[in-house]
C-alpha cells in the first residue's frame, strides 16, 4: 500500500532531451522480473552502462555524486513515450524520483506514474525554458513541490501553480489506492453486469486451458 505524499524539497536533475522513452527508463531485458525489486539499477541503464555491463567512463550524469538523492527531474517534451510497462515509474521511484517536470507526458506513462505517487507536472514551453535557465544558473537550488497547494516554490523566491488530475491528487495525498475505491463500488458494477450480458466466454469452445 502506498504512503501518503504531500510535498518534497529537493535539488533538480535536468535532462534536456525530448521523447525519453520507456526503453531508456527501463530496458526490456529488466522486465523478466516477477516482483518489483532491483529496478533502481535498471533506470537509464544503457546511458549508465556499456553494452558489456561496465559503468561508463566518465560516468553518466545520473551517476555523478552530486545527483544522488535528487527527487525532481526537469525533462523535455513527451516524456515516457512507448510501452505500458509500469516498470518505468517503478524504476524512477526506486531510484528516488518523486516529481517530473515537462511540457508533456505520454498518456500511459502519466497514468502509471500517478498510481505510484510519482508526480507528472506539466508546464508551458515558456515556463519550461525559464526553469531550464534557472537550473543552469543555480544547479544546486532547491525546489519544493507541494501537491496539497498545487504549487512549486523555486529557489529565486518565485513559485508557479500546476494541475494534476483531482482524483489522483486525492488518492496520493491520502495514500489510498484506486482498487479500494472501486471495490467499494461493487454494488454499482453488479447492477451494471446484471443488465449487460458478457460479450465473450474465453473458457468456452476450443480454449485450451492448460
Amino acid at each position: 500500500m502506498p504512503e501518503p505524499f504531500v510535498k518534497t524539497t529537493s535539488r533538480v536533475i535536468p535532462i534536456p532531451r525530448a521523447n525519453i522513452d520507456t526503453d531508456q527508463l527501463c530496458p526490456a531485458r529488466f522486465l523478466k522480473i516477477t516482483d518489483k525489486a532491483g529496478l533502481a539499477d535498471a533506470l537509464f541503464f544503457d546511458w549508465r552502462f556499456t553494452p558489456d555491463g561496465k559503468r561508463r567512463e566518465p560516468v553518466s550524469f545520473i551517476d555523478e555524486p552530486h545527483n544522488a538523492g535528487r527527487q525532481i527531474l526537469l525533462v523535455g517534451d513527451n516524456f515516457g513515450s512507448g510501452s505500458s510497462r509500469e516498470h518505468a515509474p517503478w524504476a524512477l521511484r526506486a531510484w528516488g524520483i518523486r516529481a517530473i517536470v515537462s511540457t508533456s507526458f505520454a498518456d500511459i506513462f502519466k497514468g502509471n506514474a500517478l498510481k505510484n505517487a510519482l508526480l507528472p507536472i506539466v508546464v508551458s514551453a515558456e515556463r519550461h525554458a525559464t526553469l531550464q535557465a534557472l537550473v543552469a544558473a543555480n544547479p544546486d537550488g532547491e525546489w519544493t513541490v507541494d501537491l496539497d497547494a498545487l504549487k512549486v516554490a523555486l529557489p529565486d523566491g518565485t513559485s508557479f501553480g500546476f494541475e494534476i488530475d483531482p482524483f489522483a491528487r486525492t488518492m496520493i495525498l491520502a495514500g489510498t489506492d484506486e482498487i479500494g475505491y472501486v471495490l467499494a463500488k461493487l454494488p454499482a458494477i453488479d447492477a451494471w453486469e446484471a443488465t449487460h450480458a458478457a460479450r465473450i466466454e474465453t473458457r468456452a469452445g476450443t480454449a485450451t486451458a492448460r
Binding site: 544503457d46 512507448g82 510501452s83 482524483f167 463500488k185 461493487l186 473458457r203 480454449a207 485450451t208
Partner: protein
C-alpha cells in the same frame, strides 16, 4: 443525448459507462482482458495480498509471447528469469481459473495476433492488456488500449477501469495506395507528420477510402502503431470486411447470436454530423514506402528520401536529431536507400500475420538473402506458422537463406535472446526503433514487410518496388 450524433468511440464509451462520482473518473466496464507473462506477475501478487479472486475469468485470456524463445521448442531454455516468468503465468492462470494458451498450445502466439484470429476481438468491445500495442484490436471497431500493472490488477479484481473520457482525433486517409505501398507505410507516414506525441490525450479514428480498402490484417497494422503516434487507441469502424473476417472464428458468435451481433455492430460507425476534437487528412495516392532513420518512430521518410540534416530542422528538435543520427551512425543528407544492414527481422504484432508473411515471401521467392546477412522470419502465432507452412512459405524463406522460427515477440522487444548486437543495423517490420530496443546498442530501421524482404535480398535498405518489378519481369519471361 441519444439524439446527438456520436462518434464510434463515444458510442462504445457510453455503452460501457458504469458509474462515476463527481470529479472522479468514470468506472468503465471491460469486456475482454488479455494477459501475458511480462506485465502481469506483480498484479497477481497484489490480488493474493488482498485476498481477491479474478472477478471474471471467462472474460480474461492469457498467453506467453514476450520472453518465450522462438527457437526449437524441444531445446531446453537456459534463461532462468524467463523460465521463472513463464512458470509463473502458467501457475497464476491455473490458480485463478484463466484460460491459458501457453507453451505447446496450437493457439499460442503474440497476444495481439491470437485475440483476433480466435475471434475473441469483436466490434464495440472494450479490450485492455498490459501492453501498449493493444491498440491493434481497434481495427475491429473496439476501444482497445494498453494498461499498466496496477490497472491489470484493477481489471482482474473488478472487470472495470477508472478512466477519463478520451478526446477524438479523426485520421482520414484518402485515395488509393500505389503498388508496393501498404498499411505500415500509412501509419509511419502519419507518425512522421504529427510526431510521436502528436496524438497524446486522444484516440484515433481512421477513416477514408484508403482505410476502407484495407484487409483486416492491414487495418490491424495501422491501429497497432497508434501508440507510436501518442494515441492510446486507434479505431476503424466495423464494416463487411470486419464481419467476413470474424464469421466462423472460434469465439465469434454463431447462428442467431451472429445475426444479432452483426445487427448491433452495424450501429457502431460514427454518425453523420458527429464531431471530433482534431482532424487530419493524409493523401493516400502520394504515399511512398516509408523507412525510419532515427531513434523514434516519428523519424521516418519515404524510401526515396534523404536523411534530414540538423542544420535544416527547427532549433527545438535539432539536438534530438543530432543525438539520433549519432546513435544511428548515419550521415545527414545521405539517401536512406542503400544504407547497409546486418539483420532483417520480419514479424511482431505489427507485421507478423499471414498476409505479412505472404507479402515478404512474394518478394523473396526465387532469391537468396545477401551474403553475411541474418534474416529472421518469426510468425505472429502458432496458427500463423501452421498456415504459412501449409502454403509453403516456410520453404520460400528457408531456401532463400532466412531463419524460420517459432512464434513470439522475438526481436521486436529483444527479451528472449533474439536481438541485435551492439552497433548492428537491422531493418525491422516491428514498431519501435528506440535506442537499444532491439538489443543493446542495436540500430533499427522500421519498414513494411515488402521493404524488409527487398532489403534482405540486397543487404541494404531497398525500395521494394525495384524487386517487385524484376520479379514480375522474370515471371513474364
Amino acid at each position: 443525448m441519444a439524439d446527438r450524433p456520436r462518434t464510434l468511440v463515444e458510442k462504445i464509451w457510453d455503452a460501457h459507462f458504469v458509474a462515476s462520482d463527481p470529479g472522479a473518473p468514470a468506472i468503465l466496464a471491460i469486456d475482454l482482458h488479455l494477459v501475458h507473462e511480462v506485465t502481469s506477475p506483480q498484479a497477481f501478487t497484489g490480488l493474493r495480498e488482498r485476498g481477491l479472486k479474478v472477478r471474471r475469468p471467462g472474460q480474461t485470456v492469457a498467453t506467453a509471447d514476450h520472453s518465450i524463445p522462438t527457437t526449437d521448442p524441444s531445446v531446453p531454455m537456459v534463461d532462468q528469469l524467463a523460465i521463472k516468468q513463464l512458470a509463473q503465468i502458467e501457475e497464476n492462470c491455473r490458480e485463478f481459473g484463466i484460460p491459458f494458451h501457453g507453451k505447446g498450445s496450437a493457439t499460442r502466439g503474440i497476444v495481439h495476433v491470437i485475440g483476433p484470429e480466435l475471434g475473441l476481438t469483436q466490434p464495440g468491445m472494450t479490450i485492455v492488456c498490459g501492453d501498449s500495442h493493444t491498440a491493434t484490436h481497434g481495427a475491429f471497431g473496439a476501444l482497445a488500449f494498453g494498461i499498466g500493472t496496477s490497472e491489470i490488477e484493477m481489471v482482474l479484481a473488478t472487470q472495470t477501469l477508472l478512466q477519463r473520457r478520451p478526446k477524438t482525433f479523426k485520421v482520414e486517409v484518402t485515395g488509393r495506395l500505389q503498388p508496393g505501398v501498404g498499411a505500415k507505410d500509412i501509419i509511419l507516414a502519419l507518425i512522421a507528420r504529427i510526431g510521436v506525441g502528436g496524438g497524446t490525450g486522444h484516440v484515433f479514428e481512421f477513416t477514408g477510402d484508403a482505410i476502407r480498402a484495407l484487409s483486416m490484417e492491414e487495418r490491424m497494422t495501422v491501429c497497432n502503431m497508434s501508440i507510436e503516434g501518442g494515441a492510446r487507441a486507434g479505431l476503424i469502424a466495423p464494416d463487411e470486411t470486419t464481419f467476413a473476417y470474424l464469421k466462423g472464428r472460434a469465439f465469434a458468435p454463431q447462428g442467431a447470436a451472429w445475426d444479432e451481433a452483426v445487427a448491433r455492430w452495424r450501429t457502431l460507425p460514427t454518425d453523420d454530423g458527429a464531431t471530433y476534437d482534431r482532424t487530419i487528412v493524409i493523401d493516400g495516392d502520394t504515399l511512398e514506402p516509408m523507412v525510419t532513420y532515427g531513434t523514434n518512430p516519428g523519424m521516418g521518410i519515404g524510401v526515396g528520401g534523404r536523411i534530414p540534416s540538423p542544420a535544416e530542422v527547427e532549433p527545438g528538435v535539432r539536438q534530438d536529431l543530432e543525438r539520433a543520427l549519432t546513435y544511428m551512425g548515419l550521415e545527414p543528407g545521405a539517401s536512406i536507400a542503400g544504407q547497409k544492414l546486418d539483420v532483417v527481422f520480419i514479424g511482431s504484432c505489427t507485421n507478423g500475420r499471414i498476409e505479412d508473411l505472404r507479402a515478404a515471401a512474394s518478394i523473396l521467392r526465387g532469391h537468396q538473402v545477401a551474403d553475411g546477412l541474418r534474416v529472421l522470419v518469426v510468425p505472429g502465432s502458432q496458427q500463423v506458422k501452421k498456415q504459412a507452412e501449409s502454403e509453403g512459405l516456410d520453404q520460400v524463406f528457408r531456401s532463400a537463406g532466412a531463419e524460420w522460427r517459432e512464434s513470439g515477440c522475438s526481436m521486436c522487444i529483444a527479451m528472449n535472446g533474439d536481438q541485435l548486437e551492439p552497433g548492428q543495423y537491422g531493418i525491422s517490420t516491428s514498431n519501435r526503433n528506440f535506442e537499444g530496443r532491439q538489443g543493446k546498442g542495436g540500430r533499427s530501421f522500421l519498414a513494411s514487410p515488402l521493404t524488409a524482404a527487398a532489403s534482405a535480398i540486397t543487404g541494404v535498405v531497398t525500395d521494394p518496388r525495384t524487386i517487385a518489378a524484376s520479379n514480375a519481369a522474370v515471371e513474364a519471361n
